[in-house]
Symmetry: C2
């Protein structure tokens, strides 16, 4: 059974050329932690490396029984609010797939990967596809 809880993993090792701070990943973690304050069911966890590296800053949204989304190209200066809003939508979703209209622009363009939950069955895919415009866009 899918839970309404959501975990935001944030890579605190991400560095970026031209960034205002030396550790933008750490700054993003601090900004998102502040923005998520008071949001029920929303947990923010620092991770030392999500192994994306080439598209900083990077986060992942995970929840019990749901698709995990890895998203990159995020900035601590502009995206903390978007990340928390997306996390709230993720928590409210049944499967982790955020409806396209609720997806911040950064999430529409920045998806690095998505991974099904262990409980995933291939025959559920048809429903998944209807919900996920990212999929349709990417496959043309």
């Amino acid at each position: 059974m899918a839970s309404s809880d959501v975990t935001i993993f944030i890579c605190i090792s991400c560095t970026a050329e031209g960034a205002r701070v030396e550790k933008p990943g750490r700054a993003l973690f601090d900004a998102v932690t502040a923005a998520a304050d008071g949001k029920d069911g929303c947990t923010v966890k620092p991770v030392d490396c999500l192994a994306v590296c080439k598209r900083p800053c990077t986060i992942a949204l995970s929840g019990e029984g749901k698709w995990t989304y890895v998203v990159g190209d995020l900035s601590p200066d502009t995206h903390a609010g978007d990340i928390v809003a997306a996390a709230v939508s993720y928590g409210a979703s049944s499967n982790g797939i955020i409806p396209w209209r609720e997806r911040p622009q950064a999430f529409r363009k920045g998806v690095i990967s998505r991974i099904p939950p262990l409980s995933f069955k291939a025959e559920e895919q048809a429903l998944t596809d209807r919900d996920d415009s990212t999929h349709r866009l990417r496959l043309g």
Copy 2:
């Protein structure tokens, strides 16, 4: 408690320029399914899109309570055996992090992302890092 079971998710939509077949992702799924035949605890599941797209073919290794690894740049012609060998090592690991010496070359170079399990606590990171040379290499 981490399980010895491992699930190999394979993106069956992956296409690749110059590939021998029209749907190399589907061919990779077929090849890995054949190679995994008889491997206890190893499940192969097709997924219509892992949203990596730019580095076909793409798979993910997942297991209960373990880090998930997304790996790209894989070929149905050469990598099915490597993928199953890596999956067996993954299943035998306590946390999903395959010891460097057991990691096929394709897995050393092809990591797209890694995501902690929901149970991850930041203080476990020190142990994680010692096990994962990918991390050290990437961070220089």
